[in-house]
Amino acid sequence: MEKREKGERIPSMFLEVLEAIYRLEQEGASVSPARLGKRLGLGEAQTMERVLGLQGMGLVETLISGLVLLTAEGERIAVGLIRKHRLIERFLYDVLGLPWDQVHGEAHSLTPVVSDQVGDRLARFLEDPKTCPHGNPIPSTEGALHAEAAVPLHRLNQGKAGVILRIEKEEPALLKYLATLGLLPETKVEVEEVAPFGGPILIRVGGSRYALGRKVASKIFVKEA
C-alpha cells in the first residue's frame, strides 16, 4: 500500500516525467536527458531539474554517462500511471463517446488526479479491458506490463529454460556481480532444480551452475523458451 501513497504524493509534473521515461524505455531507447526533454517539450535545464527531483525521491537513477534509468519503485509508479491513463482513455471512448483522436490528450490531463482506487473501480466498471482504444496493453494491478510475458526466474518450472529479458535495477552491485557471471539480458538459463520451502533455485548458464536465492531469482525476469 505504501507505493500507492507515494504515487499520490508525487506532484503531477514529476509523474509526467516518470511516464515519459517509462515509455521511452519501453520503446527500446536509452533515455538521455536531451531525448527526454524533447519528448516532454521541455528545455534541458528544466528536464534535469525534474530528473534530479525524481532521483531525490529514489524513483530514477542517473548513470555516469548521463542516461536516466527508472528504479524498481519508479517503474511500479510509472506502470500504475499508464494503467490509469489507458483505462481513462477506454472510458472516454467507450462510455462517453469522445472521438478517438481526442482521448489521449484528455486522459493525459486527467491521469494525475485520478487515484489508484478510482482507477481500479474504473477497470471493474469497464470489465477489465485488455487494451486501450489505441490497442496498447493495459497493465494489471500488479503492474506487469510487458508485451512479452516476463516471469520471474523462480516461477519457471524445473527443467524449463528461459531467456533473461531484464533484471530489476534495485541493487546496482548485484547487477554488476551477475554481469560478471554472464547473467545478462538475452542470456539463456536453464532451471535444474527449485528447492522447496522458498529455497533457492539451481540454474545452469553455459557450462556453469549457480544457486540463486529466491529473492535474487525474483528480480530476474525471463521469457520461457
Binding site: S30, S65, T180, G182, L184, E192, R209, A211
Partner: protein, 670 residues
Amino acid sequence: MELGCHSGIKRWKERLPVTFALAGNPNVGKSSVFNWLTGMGVMTANYPGKTVEVNLATTHFRDQEIGVMDLPGTYALGSTSEDQWVARQALLDAQPDAILVIVDATNLERNLYLPLQLLDMGLPLVIALNLVDEALRNGLRIDHVRLAKFLGVPVVPTVAIRGQGLDRLVEMGLQAARVGLTRASTPRYGRDIEEALEELADLLVKEEVLLPWGLPPRAIAILLLEEDEEVLAWTRALPEGERILAKVREVASGIAERHGEPTPFRIARERHGLAGAIGAQVETRVSVPSKTQDRLWRLTTSPTTGFPLLALALAGLFAFLFYIGDFLSNVMSGLWGASLSPVIRFVIQLAFGQGIVSKTLLWGFDAGINAALSVGIPYVLTFYLILSVLEDTGYLNSVAFLTDPFMHKLGLHGRAAIPLVAGAGCNVPAIMGTRVLATMRERILASTLVCLMPCSARTAVIAGAVSKYVGWGPAVLIYVIVAGIGFLSGWGLNRILPGRSTGLVMEMFPFRVPSFPKMLRRTWYRFKDFLFVATPIVLIGSFILGLIYETGFLWVFTVPLQPVVEGWLGLPAVAGLTLIFAVLRKELALQLLVALAVAKYGSGVTDLLQFMDKGQIFTYALVNTLYIPCIATIAVLAKELGWRRALLISASTILLALLAGGIVHRLLIL
C-alpha cells in the same frame, strides 16, 4: 605472520628479484598451485577494513628466488565486492612481474573472462590451463596452442593437484617476467567500443595526466567506461577531471544509445562473448559428456533425495566422529599409558623425588599430555579429515543449497552453512570463514551462531563425558538443546539487528573425486594450528591446576564459585573451576576433570562417575558447550567484528549457558 596494508605488499615485492601473482576463479585449483610452489612460510597481508587476505610466500626455482602472491579467487576484478577489490588492489600495489592465471579447462568460457579483463589492464600473463585431465574425462579436448595464439600469451596445460605442468608454468612465468608483454595482446571488442577506448586513451595522453598504478591509457579508458568507482574518483580529483569525464559521458552515452543498454553491461557482454567465441574455437568435443555430474546434482539437491542424504551425511559425520575419535582416543591414551607415561613418571620422580614439585610436573607432563592425547587431538583430527572430504568432493555446496531457506529464517543464506559446518570443527577458522558473507550484519549473525556451534573440542567433551558415562541418547539431546537455542538466538537476532539480509548467489562447483594427499595436507595444515596453539595451553593449564591442587589452594579458589556452581548449577565447585580454565581451550574442561580424577585416584582411573553423577555430567557438558567458546574465539571475534561486539557475544553466551544449565539442573532434580 601478518603484513600491514599495501606498503607491506610493496616492501615484500621490493626485496624479491621476481614476483608472480596467482589469479583465478574460485575452486579452480589455485591453492594447489600455490601449495605446490611454496610449501611452508606463508605470510598474509591485510588491507585495513577488509577481511579478505592475500597470501605471500617465496619459492626457489633453479636457484632463482621467486615471490608468489596468492590472490583471493574471483570471477572478475571490479571494485564492487570485497574479494575482487582486494585482489585488484594487491595486484596494483605489488605490480608483479607476471600473473599466472589459473583457468578451469572444464569450464573455459566463464573462466576466460578474468584473463581477458587482466589483458585489458595491460598486465603480463601466463595461463595455466588446469584440470585438463578432468576436461578430457568429460570428453573435452582443448587446443592450448590455439588458445595461446588467440590470447597472445603463453598457455600451459596443468594438473595442479599432481604438480603436472607446473615447472613449465614457472618457466613461462619467468620468461614473461623477463620480456614483459611480447605484443599488444589486448582483447578487441566491437568497433564502437574500440573507437571509444581509443578516443579516451588519446585524450588521457593529450592531457598528459600521470596515470595511476602504472596502467596504460587503454586500461584506464576501459575502467572509466566500466564506471569503475575508484578510477572515477581518481579522475574527479584531477584538475583535468571534468574534461575527461565529459568525454567519458559523451562516448558512453553513444555506446549505450546504440546498444540499448548501459556501457558497463555492454562491455561485460562483449567480454563474455569474446570468451565464449575463443572457447568455442579451441574446444573439441571428443566424446559425449558424462551424465554423472547431472545425476549427482539431482540426487543431492532434489528435495526427495537431498534431505534424506543430508540427514544421512550429518549422522554419518557424527557417528564417524564419535567412533573413530573414540577409537583413536583409546589407542593413543593406551599407547601413552603403556610406553611414555611410566618413563616420564620415573624420570620426574628420580629428579624431584616425591614432593610437590614432582607431583605438579606430573600433572602437566603425564596427566596433561594424556588428556590432550585422549580428548582433544583425536576428535579434532577426525573432524578436520571429514570436513576436507565434504569440501573436496563438493558436497558442501549441496548443503548450502538445501539449507538456504532455513538460513533465511536466521537472516542468512545458504553460503553461511559452510562456516557453520566448519564451526563444528573449530570456531576460529569458521568465524574467519564468515568472510564469504557480504554484509557486516550477516557476519555478526553467522559469527554468533558459529559460537553456539559445538566445535570438535566441545564435541570431545560431550563424547568423552556424556556419551561415555551417561549414554548416547543424552549426548544427542545436548545437540538438540544447543541447536534449539542456536535457532532461537539467530531468529531473535535477525529481528533485533537493523537491516535486511541479501540474497544467495553461489557457484555450484562440480563434484570431484577428492585427492587423498591433498585432503591429508589440508587436514594437517588445520590441525597443525590446533596442535601448536592448543597443546601448550593445555600443558600450562595442567601445571597451574596441578600446582594449586597440590598446594591445597584449589579448594580456596572454589569458594567464591560455590553459589553459582553448586547452588545454581548443582555441580561440584571444582568442576566450576575447570569450566573457567576451559576458556583457554574447551576440551581442557574435561581434560582437567580427568586429570583431577587421575591425580586423586591414580593413573588408569579416569572414571568421572566417581565424583559426579549422570545428571551433573549432563549439565556440565551443556554449560561447557554453550558458554564463550574459548580465548582464541574471542580474539578472532574481536579481530573480525571489533572488541565491543566480541565481548557482547561472549557475555550473552555466558548468560545463555548459566540460564540453560540452571534450568536443566532443576528439571533433572524433578
